[in-house]
């Protein structure tokens, strides 16, 4: 396959002051990001000028940390609600895709379908929905739930939710007699009171990597975000998911798999290392351990000696796939809780590359050409500096190698991603 025939897709993953847990403390980080819309407009324009496929906003309907003391040492307790944020960005940009997370546990499909379709119209066909089932007790407490639903139930509700949403987008629930949806979790008469999407339907994104999550993705997703530390993990996930598509009558190219990557890039490798160490030094131990605890879905990790190994953990109703990834890494690299917490806090279990533009491009190229990724969801350590660094250093290197577009091929997100327009 020639470089020109297949190019990687790139997402700019916007989150708080940056993806590094201590990003907000960095001297160059924009600490008031969560209340400054102009900052986000600037980030969107930077990413669009660099020809990124999409902007991606993660979301949770509640605080990130159960412990208010821990929460107060991070910048993640406040920020823009992503639908309103992306709606504002939609009319301040003209080409870049706009993808937001929204939960199937705390929304109703009719309202969600309508909101994302509206974002799609505001942007001229550039919207996408990242489906999550929500795994946190903190969110559940904001929605009258007495407890988190079991993993399998959440995914069954999500499957039905996605079916209703796409049914509305595709005009199947048209309000005529007998066309309504009457299911286990939802009853929806339809139709939507908005015109059809400029790109056929907004793009469907998913990130759940458990077995049931993969099946749901194979059935409904256009794009899959994932976390993979090593080439082998990434390749195994890629092959597994692409292999599930045939069962749903879909082709391998119908899903774009974009693992997260957390690069720290500079003109020289030494500068990049220095930049990374500077960030790591800013992580308080209690914050690192708390973050690790929440990803492992256990509350009392702080009880264990911080310089000792990770204890044996029971299976949880939380994020099963992410938990397995962290545990595997701790055993493989023989890391203490402190080491794992610091390492993990930096990139939240995603793939970290520290180096020059050529080194970062080498790594991305290897996974892309090795059949482990269709593209990457780029997670800058802090904003705006690290997005600027990726845009000005890595993107030109990828373009020079023919691995990334020099200009947008089309106008809609589906066109950028090379996805078929739904009938």
């Amino acid at each position: 396959m020639t470089a020109a025939s297949r190019q990687m897709k790139l997402g700019a993953f916007l989150w708080a002051t940056g993806h590094h847990i201590a990003a907000w403390r960095h001297p160059q980080a924009h600490v008031t990001a969560g209340i400054d819309i102009d900052h986000y407009i600037q980030l969107a324009r930077t990413a669009e000028a660099a020809k990124f496929d999409l902007l991606f906003c993660e979301d949770a309907a509640g605080l990130r940390e159960a412990d208010v003391g821990i929460a107060s040492q991070t910048s993640r307790s406040i920020g823009f609600e992503p639908i309103s944020l992306l709606s504002a960005l939609a009319v301040q940009t003209s080409r870049i895709g706009l993808v937001s997370t929204a939960s199937t546990s705390y929304n109703e499909p009719y309202g969600l379908a309508r909101t994302f379709l509206s974002l799609d119209h505001l942007s001229g066909g550039r919207a996408g929905w990242n489906l999550v089932t929500s795994a946190s007790q903190i969110e559940a407490a904001n929605f009258g739930s007495t407890g988190l639903r079991p993993h399998a139930d959440r995914y069954e509700r999500a499957r039905e939710f996605a079916e209703v949403v796409t049914g509305l987008w595709h005009g199947k629930l048209d309000g005529t007699s007998g066309s309504g949806h009457d299911g286990q979790s939802f009853s929806v008469r339809g139709p939507l009171d908005l015109p059809r999407s400029p790109q056929g339907a907004p793009v469907m994104v998913q990130a759940g990597a458990s077995d049931v999550g993969r099946d749901l993705a194979a059935r409904t997703a256009d794009v899959v975000f994932t976390a993979a530390q090593t080439f082998e993990e990434a390749k195994a996930f890629y092959d597994d998911l692409k292999g599930r598509l045939a069962a749903y009558g879909r082709e391998r190219d119908d899903i774009k798999i974009m693992p997260g990557v957390a690069p720290v890039v500079a003109e020289t490798e030494a500068e990049a290392r220095e930049k990374y160490e500077e960030l790591q030094e800013l992580i308080p131990d209690d914050v690192g351990v708390a973050l690790l605890s929440s990803y492992l879905s256990i509350a009392d990790l702080w009880r264990y000696p911080i310089d000792g190994p990770l204890p044996e953990l029971p299976a949880t109703e939380g994020m099963q796939s992410r938990q397995a990834l962290v545990i595997e890494q701790s055993r493989r690299d023989n890391l203490s809780i402190r080491q794992l917490a610091r390492h993990f806090a930096g990139a939240r279990g995603h793939w970290r590359i520290v180096g020059t533009a050529a080194q970062v491009a080498d790594e991305l190229q290897a996974r892309f050409e090795g059949g482990a990724a269709d593209g990457f969801n780029v997670m800058p350590s802090y904003f705006p500096g690290e997005l600027d660094a990726f845009a000005t250093l890595v993107v030109p290197e990828l373009q020079r190698r023919g691995l990334f577009r020099k200009d947008y091929e089309g106008h809609t997100l589906r066109e950028h991603l090379g996805l078929r327009r739904p009938a």
């Binding site: 107060s72 504002a88 301040q92 705390y106 001229g124």
Partner: protein, 339 residues
Amino acid sequence: MDNGATMHLAVSLCPGTTDASRGAEPEFDRLARFAQKAEAAGLDMVLLADAAPASGGDAANRQVPFEATTLLAALATVTSRIGLVAMASTVAHQPYNLARRFASLDIISHGRAGWHATMAQAPREAANFSRPGGFSRDDFRRRTEEYIGIVQGLWTGWDADALLFDKGGGRFHDPDRMHLLDHKGEFFSVRGPLNVARSPQDRPVLVLSGLSVSDMDIAARTADVILLEERPAEETKASRDDLKRRVAARGRDPDAVKVLMDVLPVTGGEPAGLADKLEEQFRSTSCDGFNILMPAELSAIDDFVDLVLPELRRRDLFRQGYRGATLRSHLGLGGGGDQ
């Protein structure tokens, strides 16, 4: 200073209207020009309608292809002074999600956002939200009252000085200045706090409409703006007086709630005629102003702004321009913003 001598003016973009002159111009650009025209004229706010009907019949008549809160966010980036108020249904959104959305809109608009809630159930809406039977009138009232209390409580969960941004000390915010809501009620339980900062107006403006007699106390306790449907002057006057009495009985300043009357301008009528009508209604009902139900045609706003407004200003019935930057300040309301 708002001394009651001048009126407040809102314009509503109505769904279901059609615009034959609509050409190739993108729909958003047209709506943006509408809002900009209203802003250039110094109007208090634009009300963005929203509807999610369940039947195919209504859908065909819809004109605006945007859900109102998303449209508000977009319009906020192309305007700088005018208030922007979106209708959002208490059936379509969970209170936590709605509170987040509007707090975020208030930050995006630098303190110009408002939430328009209605006490009237939209016919057939519930059929799209897994509630085929809808709510009884009484349940809907109690549920809406509880809902509004949650949203307004969430909006003030963070103290105005809660964010420290102290990089060196590692203190992003002060945990003692962040408060849980811990609401447990008949219809909802919501722990809080919101994960959006306190917004520039402290609380986005709450506009209430669709009031029946039994809703008056809820409105008197919670609303910043109350919209009354157009009725004979003496009925409007009675409702207005009743509302202001109830507001005072709640220990609020009667001037802290603005009562606006819906007005449907007769197209093709003499500008002086509409100005006369507004002046007459303003004086006879003692209302605080009007909500002009405007077809979303640029010609309609042009006529109002270019012909009717100068007449109102000539009679000293409408202020010359904006004095503050927030919607609360345009409306002469307390709390938040640049009073």
